[in-house]
């Protein structure tokens, strides 16, 4: 795996010019994610319509991988049901652990498959997906 795959056009585009990177003032759900080992932080904002993620955005500070990954996740989950989002989280996680998985649903996020070759960076890419997972766990626990 080469660096130019890790820092590909599409990842840099999401990192440097994401339209998803903005605060949402009327969000129904606001979930912070933090990677204490490296200091990356993100906040995911969700506007819900029942079970459907009507709108989503994020703010954050961190490396290209974590920020691009968040932007890609936002792209993917907008308009999706929570259940569908859950499936995407699983697929993305599987991709980063090099498990056999169909990548078709993952859209731009497929570009992050190369991170699997940089074990130290896998946590960066997973951060937003884990954060969204926590939203769901909290919802399920009725918090």
């Amino acid at each position: 795996m080469e660096l130019n795959q890790l820092y590909s056009e599409i990842i840099l585009e999401h990192y440097q010019n994401s339209p998803n990177k903005k605060k949402m003032d009327d969000a129904d759900i606001e979930e912070k994610g933090h990677n204490p080992l490296c200091g990356d932080t993100i906040t995911i904002y969700l506007k819900m319509d029942g079970d459907i993620i009507k709108d989503a955005s994020f703010t954050g500070q961190g490396c290209a991988i974590s920020q691009a990954s968040t932007s890609m996740l936002i792209d993917l989950v907008k308009g999706k049901k929570l259940d569908e989002a859950k499936k995407l989280i699983q697929e993305f996680t599987d991709m980063l652990y090099k498990r056999d998985v169909d990548l078709d649903d993952l859209g731009d996020a497929q570009a992050l498959s190369g991170v699997a070759d940089f074990p130290a960076r896998v946590k960066c890419a997973l951060l937003p997906w884990k954060t969204l997972e926590e939203v769901m766990e909290e919802k399920e626990e009725g918090k």
């Binding site: 933090h34 490296c38 074990p119 130290a120």
Partner: protein
């Protein structure tokens, strides 16, 4: 009879067993104190420092990735070895003593209060007594002791008598480092849980020698040491039951165990990192992992049978010597490879010094079990403890040497 374990062949794996004290073959019978290390463990340490060494978790560079993987694989292997379920339940400490102190300083200081009771046994190692004395002292709790029955085993009836809702913790060793008794920890845990008490098992003398399944035992805390199972010194393990893990407060504080740090306050990482402050002993974890691999290669059931055979043989031979007193159970049921004894009229230190001249390493003293010594009414004992590299021939040399001890004192 076919040998389960060919100790002569196994000895080839242990460079130190070629040492010749005073020109004699080394017969190492001090395994309950610490065990020797096979070549594969020594090599694992060498390989670690020669090809993987780095600080773990936080750097993004190549070596740090390699070291982090090695450390986490070790944690994983330990978790599987004692059937812990999740590797998050495995906390690396310095030794069994620190593992027990961690529980004392955190969970116990938070959950044991005035008037509460802690049940220990009179056979506990100091490392499973002093931390609880501290808790009892600071929190106004009461220590109660279970004693032995006439067969030198735990008097299980007194657990029944003592267990009530005031009891918050039962701390008990899995195997005694003096008497060799294997305690019914599963039964004790079940009884303790019925009254709502938590259970800590000191497994320092069990994990190296027999199959241990912490989830089958059902205990809340389980502590042991790497160096007693052919792993390096400086690495210990604390297992904390998953359900409890999050509620145990952190112990040592510093780097690696944090989530956020402000000048006046901090939040903590999730377990197990929350409990591992500062640079961890990656070498120790990697060496321990190699030791577990070695143990698994031989098989814990084989190890246990081999030791049982040796112990039975040694006990029979020792009983034939009329000036030798043996402590501990008379039969082999639930008994590990540890034999404590005394020679009439001769202090254990003198016995040990005399055997040492024949190349035989035994331990003499109180074995960090002074309450038990007082209970047995002896100032000290000799102790021979076996492992996979010992065999019957060595026991024979030991018996011969033992028979001669009194001659040096002009007693016969």
């Amino acid at each position: 009879m076919e040998k389960i374990i060919d100790a002569r062949k196994i000895r080839e794996d242990f460079p130190i067993l070629k040492v010749r004290p005073y020109g004699k073959s080394l017969i190492y019978f001090d395994n309950a104190a610490t065990t020797q290390k096979p070549e594969s463990v020594i090599k694992a340490i060498d390989d670690y420092y020669s090809g993987m060494n780095a600080n773990v978790y936080r750097s993004a560079h190549y070596l740090s990735g390699v070291a982090t993987n090695a450390y986490e694989e070790a944690r994983n292997r330990v978790a599987k070895f004692i059937n812990a379920g999740s590797e998050n339940t495995i906390i690396f400490t310095r030794n069994a003593t620190e593992s027990i102190n961690l529980v004392a300083y955190t969970w116990a200081m938070d959950n044991i209060n005035e008037g509460d009771e802690i049940i220990l046994t009179v056979a506990e190692h100091h490392s499973n007594i002093l931390p609880w004395q501290m808790v009892a002292d600071r929190k106004g709790a009461k220590l109660r002791y279970v004693y032995l029955n006439e067969d030198s085993r735990l008097d299980m009836a007194s657990y029944k008598d003592m267990l009530n809702s005031r009891v918050k913790l039962v701390a008990v060793q899995h195997v005694s480092n003096v008497l060799g008794i294997i305690n019914p920890v599963e039964e004790i845990t079940e009884m303790a849980h019925k009254v709502g008490a938590k259970v800590l098992i000191d497994g320092a003398q069990s994990v190296p020698h027999m199959r241990v399944d912490v989830r089958k035992i059902g205990c809340d805390f389980f502590a042991f040491s790497g160096h007693k199972m052919m792993g390096p010194m400086g690495i210990g393990i604390l297992y904390v039951k998953k359900e409890l893990l999050n509620s145990v407060p952190p112990f040592l504080r510093g780097g690696e165990m944090i989530d956020e740090v402000y000048e006046d306050r901090a939040t903590f990482a999730v377990p197990p990192l929350k409990f591992e402050a500062g640079t961890p002993n990656v070498e120790g974890a990697v060496g321990l992992s190699a030791a577990i691999e070695y143990i698994e290669g031989i098989g814990l059931d084989n190890i246990h049978s081999h030791e049982a055979e040796l112990t039975q043989y040694a006990l029979e031979k020792m009983r034939e010597i009329d000036f030798v007193d043996i402590y501990g159970p008379r039969d082999m049921r639930d008994r590990g490879g540890v034999i404590s004894f005394n020679v009439a009229d001769i202090h254990p230190h003198d016995v040990s010094t005399i055997l040492d001249q024949d190349g035989i390493a035994i331990r003499s003293g109180h074995h960090c079990a002074l309450p038990l010594m007082r209970y047995l009414d002896v100032p000290a004992t000799c102790r021979a403890s076996f492992y996979i590299y010992n065999d019957m021939d060595e026991v024979d040399v030991f018996i011969d040497s033992l028979k001669n001890v009194r001659k040096w004192f002009k007693w016969s």
